[in-house]
């Protein structure tokens, strides 16, 4: 599903070159759940950005769902993200001028309007709304659909974000510190939802976190240090691929 090969990322600022990632390689299989952990500045978020096609690597190759990202321009990567990738951010990243329902609808609308009418499936705009409605019900926000993000608590916003991440039925989900801005109780609730929805959808999950307890919930933990992979441990509790479902 995700293939990282000899990837490096360097930044140049003020005449100085800073290597954030240095010759990193690993693969993530379909349906696998992976945590990337490490101290601040170890390159976790950079690796996530590169893996999701939000940024370009300096060297090396990245393949997402069999497509080499290096060969794509920014617009092509945007289409690829919309088609195959879901995101969950530490600070939720909801659009403040859209209601919860509309926030969840956006990725589907983007996907739908790129398809020919025959490919859009049943429902059209009504179908988009119904799908978003269903997802919000699943995360327990059936009664908050028409609220704006500013009218929701942090936990609720992250649940909307979770519903949005699954809206376009992604093949891979990238989560950047999904519980980093939440209290312990809400964190557990949201983390539970992430894994539940992920299990149901059979989505590949790549999780960047400082939270080792949360990382332990994934089948594999890649530890980064100073831009290198320090360890890559696989847990036997990995979800078998034959249990994949679609939402």
């Amino acid at each position: 599903m995700l293939k990282i090969e000899k990837v490096s990322k360097t930044y140049t600022a003020g005449g100085r070159t800073l290597t954030v990632l240095d010759n990193v390689s690993f693969q993530v299989g379909e349906g696998e759940t992976v945590s990337i952990v490490g101290p601040s500045g170890s390159g976790k978020t950079t690796l996530l950005g590169l893996s999701a096609g939000l940024d370009r690597s300096s060297t090396g190759t990245i393949e997402l769902n069999g497509v080499s990202l290096g060969a794509l321009d920014e617009d092509a990567r945007a289409v690829l993200r919309n088609k195959y990738v879901g995101f969950i951010f530490q600070n939720f990243q909801l659009l403040p001028t859209l209601t919860a329902l509309e926030n969840v609808m956006v990725p589907i609308e983007l996907q739908q309007s790129d398809l020919r009418p025959r490919q859009r499936g049943a429902g059209g705009p009504t179908g988009v709304r119904a799908r978003a409605h269903e997802l919000l019900e699943q995360v327990g926000l059936g009664d908050r659909m028409h609220h704006y993000p500013a009218q929701l608590s942090g936990g609720e916003q992250q649940r909307v974000s979770l519903a949005r991440a699954f809206a376009n039925r992604p093949r891979i989900l990238f989560a950047d510190e999904p519980t980093g801005n939440l209290d312990t109780e809400t964190s557990e609730l949201v983390a539970g939802m992430i894994f539940d929805l992920n299990r149901q959808a059979g989505t590949t999950l790549v999780l960047v976190t400082h939270n080792l307890e949360l990382a332990a919930s994934t089948g594999r933990i890649i530890k980064l240090g100073k831009g290198h992979i320090v360890s890559d441990e696989t847990d036997l509790r990995e979800v078998p691929s034959d249990k994949k479902k679609t939402l």
Binding site: G49, D75, F89, Q93, L95, T97, L110, S113
Partner: protein, 666 residues
């Protein structure tokens, strides 16, 4: 390509909680569009009013202006078509208000006939416009009546006669409030001119003859007889000529106002660029989220372009509507200088032109910040510290070029002069670049000489000028351009005022006394001294005639082409004699001198220097005469020299009261 409806939906969703910010955008262009639409509408209405009321402005089909009565031959020429006509003698004279015992200089207009044939003399009471012609009565300008507390039924004394005031003159064809204030008119019947003793030898009287042709085309007729009228020193004006003269005069006014409005709109457009810039900066994170979710760069740009277009259209429609309201105020503002009645009509082309210009200007100026939307990275969702826009965008240069082309094109449409349009645009660009340079220099100096020891408040205030997302440069440019435009307006206003007040400045005279005989000079000086009126200059006036120009003698020219008036054959164009060439075609002799040059009696004087309102356009002021054979150098007013076809260096012989003397044109 996404469905267009999705862009509108997304634009609406994106803007709905930030609409107050977009109001700033609307406010920036509403006033500019309102000013543009009101001036465009006013200009077009004024042109239509001039077209529709041109006959009323002249009061007749043709008016003959002269400083002498018409000769029999002149009358015969003018009566070639069936007509009715009126005669008017006008001159400046004192009028004495019997009731108040006060007197004042007025323009006496002695009239005979049914003038005006188009429009009317508006009087109170209404019948007075006709009745005063039948009796020994006068029509007196309404402001004069107010000023001297007189009313219909009172008497005024003009010359040796008393006239009863038949009514107040409220409005006369072709005359505006200002002209009636400067030279308030008093109409009397022409037959009382002589009994009043107002016509004496040497009186400065202007004769006007108003012709109303009952058959034929007056314009065509005027074209046919025009050269012959000019040949005998008569000036004429037809309805079409008046229309052209007025249209040209007011075109300058309306086009100037339109350019000022356009400048106001451009200032607003800088405001648009600024407000969109701020709006987009606030939207950077939202755009990054959308890009992360799969929105392409072009699509993100289109979402915000739709917002700008809709808001620009809304602002333009509001501005155009406001412009229609403002337009109704303009006739009131200019009523003192407009000699005609302007009516309010909705000018739809101006309304839609205003909207189109508003949308185009909004779009062009909003494009500069909007282009940056394409460059916003989705990575900002993960790293907020990332610089939002990276790299140079060649499309910005294209937008700058289109803006300059648009400004040039629009100003060309207004001025109909490519050079002026280019100068206008270049000046704007120059002002913009200079102000940008000043703003950057200011920021540089603030950074270099930052007041580290100043109180916290001051330090924070200065630091905010160059912190990220500051608007210092754009604010300095906007305020600077606004100040430049307002300053330019004041400069132009002062320049015009200076031109007309040169003669009123301290050293200049403000009264002229003519025809003082040598034995009267001492007495006049004494009288002026009693009233503390210094005599600025005493100059002799000598009556002369031109007898020869460039070797062409007057008697020869006059003899060759017969007498004056209707009988003259091909009596010549104003500046060149036309003769039949060998092949029968019309040949122009640029060396020829018109006969009227030799017909006129000239009052000639001298001065050794120019006044403030005069300018030497060619040659030099007279050189000293060293011997009896030296020519005396003279100077001519530019328009005289052109009309008479006399150039610098031409020898001219004058008949100075019976003595021929040679002079050179200087």
């Amino acid at each position: 390509m996404k469905k267009i409806s999705w862009y509108f939906l997304m634009a609406w969703r994106d803007s709905r909680r930030d609409q107050s910010r977009l109001l700033l955008f609307i406010a920036a262009i509403v006033l500019g569009i309102a000013a543009l639409v009101s001036t465009l509408s006013f200009g077009r209405n004024l042109r239509e009013d001039i077209d529709g009321q041109a006959s009323e402005l002249l009061g007749a089909d043709m008016v003959i202006y002269s400083n002498r009565p018409l000769s029999k031959a002149d009358e015969k020429l003018l009566d070639s078509l069936p007509n009715e006509h009126s005669e008017e003698c006008s001159f400046a004279s004192m009028v004495y208000f019997v009731r108040s015992g006060q007197s004042r200089l007025v323009q006496v207009r002695a009239i005979e006939g049914d003038y005006p044939y188009y429009g009317e003399l508006e009087t109170t009471p209404v019948p007075a416009a006709i009745d005063f012609r039948k009796k020994q009565e006068a029509l007196v300008d309404k402001t004069l009546l107010l000023q001297y507390g007189a009313q219909p039924g009172d008497s005024v004394r003009i010359g040796e006669l008393s006239f009863m005031i038949a009514g107040s003159l409220d409005k006369a064809p072709g005359r505006n409030e200002i002209s009636m204030t400067v030279a308030p008119p008093v109409y009397i019947p022409l037959r009382y001119m002589e009994p009043a003793g107002l016509l004496k030898k040497g009186s400065r009287v202007n004769y006007q003859y108003y012709y109303h042709y009952l058959q034929g085309d007056p314009e065509q007729f005027a074209q046919q007889i025009g050269p012959r009228l000019e040949a005998v020193g008569l000036h004429y004006e037809t309805v079409a000529m008046r229309k052209n003269r007025m249209t040209n005069a007011f075109r300058n006014l309306t086009e100037f106002m339109t350019l000022i409005s356009f400048i106001a709109l451009l200032l607003g457009a800088v405001g648009v660029a600024s407000s969109v810039n701020i709006y987009i900066r606030e939207k950077v994170n939202d755009i990054a989220i959308l890009r992360c979710l799969g929105l392409k760069a072009r699509q993100a740009f289109l979402v915000y372009l739709v917002q700008v277009l809709v808001i620009g259209l809304l602002g333009s429609v509001l501005g155009a509507g406001l412009g229609l309201v403002l337009q109704q105020l303009l006739p009131g503002v200019f009523k003192d200088i407009l000699p005609l009645e302007t009516r309010f009509r909705v000018v739809w082309p101006a309304f839609f032109e205003g909207i189109a210009v508003g949308v185009i200007v909004s779009l062009l100026f909003a494009l500069l910040p909007l282009l940056s939307v394409r460059k916003i990275s989705p990575l900002l969702t993960l790293r907020v510290s990332l610089e939002p826009v990276r790299g140079r965008d060649p499309l910005r240069w294209l937008v700058y070029a289109v803006i300059l082309v648009f400004i040039t094109w629009f100003s060309y449409l207004r001025m109909e002069n490519g050079r002026k349009a280019l100068v206008f645009t270049a000046s704007l660009l120059g002002a913009f670049l200079v102000l940008t340079g000043i703003a950057r220099l200011f920021l540089f100096l603030i950074r270099r000489a930052f007041p580290e020891r100043w109180p916290y408040l001051w330090r924070q205030g200065f630091a905010n000028l160059f912190r990220p997302n500051n608007q210092t440069v754009i604010l300095i440019v906007t305020i600077g351009l606004g100040t430049t435009f307002i300053g330019t307006l004041f400069f132009v206003q002062q320049f015009l005022i200076d031109q007309v007040t040169t003669s009123a400045n301290g050293g200049e005279g403000n009264m002229v006394l003519f025809d003082i005989q040598p034995d009267q000079v001492k007495g006049i000086e004494g009288l002026a001294g009693q009233y503390h009126l210094p005599v600025k200059q005493e100059i002799p006036i000598v009556t002369m005639r031109i007898v020869e120009v460039r070797g062409q003698r007057g008697d020869s020219v006059l003899g060759q082409r017969g007498g004056s008036g209707a009988g003259a054959q091909n009596s010549g164009a104003p500046a060149a004699r036309r003769e039949r060439g060998p092949a029968g075609g019309l040949r122009t002799d640029s060396n020829a001198v018109g006969r009227w040059v030799f017909e006129q009696e000239l009052r000639v004087t001298y001065r050794d220097s120019l006044t403030g309102s005069e300018k030497l356009v060619a040659g030099q002021l007279g050189a000293p005469v060293r011997g009896p054979n030296d020519p005396v150098m003279i100077s001519l007013a530019e328009d005289f020299a052109k009309r008479w076809n006399i150039r610098v260096g031409d020898p001219v012989v004058f008949d100075v009261q019976g003595v021929a003397d040679s002079h050179g044109g200087g």
